[in-house]
């Protein structure tokens, strides 16, 4: 793994735009001031056929050709090891070797969940779970403030492109749902709980747990008709309603047969029914111990204005 040559000086949030173009290789990102790291895998740009003609799900049709620009994707799902630093500023302060700086200090953090959001399934190397899409994006914002690098959620199209890894079968390894046990934690082999990331075989790009373990957030609103008029390049359908939004890949609770590269899962207001407060938390789904996230970093980041707009979009009240 090569370290990126990215001199980081936290002078201002928008000061990173003109940084030298990075080398497009795998790298390990250290979260500054902490011992925590995570790995990023390059996904070459290209064209692929999105959707499935053989599936029974109408919303996966029509299969349509889509061009995707290059990006890095998290080699693993984001784990509590990193997410908890964002979750609790006092914890971040306690573990950091140096001051975290005014900008990071001033970032709005999640409300500390009243309930145990690990649901007794543990933290170390286990995927962070139960966060809203807003919470997932704010985690990216925190990382941006810490590292100067634009991390964001994948679009639905990027996720499927990354999962397929050039395949047009149901799974990246073929069509046999029994073979998935070598690659994924599903209802059949998970023992009803999240599992440590990276314990199964990766897909051809080198992405671990792309199916199963936890559902992964995308940035897109769910629209069953979207494929009929999809843009041909880097399609996205930005979320402007809380439900339903696209989540991908299935989880430890999903039967293998229901998982595929094309399958479009969605979030559900029921995931918040155990939140006894009104307004309901913008940060947590207390009944969704199966939703997590995987980071994307586009090779060519957008303008500072677009980055700022992405991170600072106000959350929608939920009640």
């Amino acid at each position: 793994m090569k370290k990126l040559v990215l001199p980081i000086a936290l002078i201002g949030v928008l000061a990173f735009y003109s940084l030298e173009r990075p080398i497009f290789e795998s790298y390990t990102q250290k979260i500054p001031g902490t011992p925590v790291t995570f790995d990023m895998t390059p996904i070459e740009g290209g064209t692929f056929k999105m959707g499935s003609s053989s599936s029974a799900n109408a919303d996966e049709k029509p299969v349509h050709e889509v061009k995707i620009d290059p990006f890095w994707m998290g080699t693993h799902e984001v784990t509590w090891d990193a997410f908890e630093l964002f979750l609790d500023k006092n914890y971040e302060l306690a573990i950091s070797e140096e001051p975290i700086g005014e900008i990071v200090d001033g970032l709005t953090r999640p409300s500390l969940p009243y309930l145990d959001m690990t649901f007794g399934m543990g933290k170390e190397h286990k995927p962070a779970i139960g966060m809203t899409q807003y919470g997932a994006i704010q985690y990216c914002y925190w990382l941006y403030l810490k590292t100067g690098i634009f991390y964001r959620l994948p679009t639905e199209a990027e996720w499927e492109y990354a999962a397929r890894a050039g395949s047009d079968s149901k799974y990246f390894f073929g069509d046999d749902s029994e073979a998935i046990t070598e690659y994924a934690w599903t209802a059949e082999n998970s023992d009803g709980m999240t599992q440590m990331v990276g314990k199964k075989k990766p897909n051809p790009w080198g992405l671990y747990d792309i199916y199963g373990n936890v559902l992964e957030w995308t940035s897109d609103q769910y629209d069953p008709e979207f494929y009929k008029n999809s843009p041909k390049e880097n399609p996205m359908n930005p979320s402007d309603e809380l439900y339903p939004r696209i989540v991908r890949g299935g989880s430890f609770k999903t039967p293998a047969e229901e998982i595929s590269s094309a399958k479009r899962f969605v979030n559900d207001p029921k995931w918040k029914q155990l939140d006894p407060q009104i307004p309901k938390s913008q940060w947590w789904f207390p009944e969704a111990p199966f939703i997590g996230l995987r980071l994307v970093r586009p090779l060519n980041p957008p303008s500072p204005e677009e980055i700022n707009a992405y991170y600072t979009a106000a959350p929608i009240a939920d009640y």
Partner: protein
Amino acid sequence: MKNTRRDFIKTSALATGGVLAANSFVLPGAYAAPAETHLKLALIGCGGRGTGAVFQAMETGHPIKLVAMADAFRDRLDGSLKPILDKYGAEKVDVPEDRKFVGFDAYKHAIAEADVVILATPPGFRPDHFTEAVKQGKQIFMEKPVATDAVGIRKVLKAAEEAKAKKLNVVVGLQRHYQDNYRKTIAKIHAGEIGDIIGGQVYWNDGGVWVRPRKPEQTEMEYQMRNWYYFNWLCGDHITEQHVHNIDVANWVKKGYPVKAEGTGGRMVRTGKEFGEIFDHHTVQFTYEDGTVIHSECRHFPGAANRVDETFQGTKGTAYLSAGNHGVLTDYTGKKLYEHDRENNINPYQQEHNELWAALVNGEYKFADAENGARSTMTSILGRYATYSGKVITMDEAINSDINLFPDTLAWDATPKLVPNADGFYPHAVPGKTKTV
């Protein structure tokens, strides 16, 4: 606002379609004028939880009208009314200016306007609010815990007797009592499926809760009221405010309350001045009348392992319970005797209102949760008395403690009993020195 209005429409249809005869409201203690077609609801304590409880009441679909609200702070009241009005509309929400009550006495006026009251302020106020609601003959939903010291518990127990005599329904928000996995699994334990219970462990270990920073314009009283989690007269420490849930499950399983407690606690990782006086960890051994010892543990340690659940050992097997709809009984060969189906369980916060309001519209007297609510809250306070003092404390000593945490005067310029030192830090309990009974 992109919220779906589907639920609202459904609820309205039920309310208008199901016009109930006025004489359905043969409520004990409630006045049902012939023209009255709605049960009148007042919310006392307009935080997130109280607002949530109003939503759950409305979602029952029964004809309910919110008619009055009370809070110490006007901004909290306004912040609560907005989403209620947005979601349920003027037909079900009728709280004009003269039925918005603000300040320390607000509760009395709001209670007077209603048939049914939701009591959801910080727990330190609950004894007085409950007493007043019972005195005025109202039907009651009140949140846990129901007090923060023994003086308050004794008030609640006295009012609980009066509520029974008046046949007032009282539901307490120990919602595990309204959650299927707990009801079914504990019924099986009581039926003897794992034999006699001879031990148990109950936990609320997680990273902690919110903090509200001090603002320069605040008096000491206002600051403590805003940042109430960290002051015992308001909160009772997290062993009471949160862990009461798990301790209550132990009492439920044991069908009784402990006779003594001993334990250890302190402030280890949460030591800043913004954290008031409460401990960040307690571990307590509760001994029951038959000699059974239940181990209780609660902590607010970010970065450490989380655990919120209950386990019990019987003479024939073990039990595992959690709010995530777990309910498992296992024998000592590892064979599962019972496993609760975790899918499609009803939200217990909704269920407690479904059952309460069904009783209310039918004019039934079915719920008397206050006494157990008080005795389980007292159990958690007994635990705190043990960890704060470092001594073995009996339930008899604890429940008769005359140490009153409540301020002598409630006013924004009055001084609470606990004040910070010159550096802004609050004195906190020191085991071996602090007196609790």
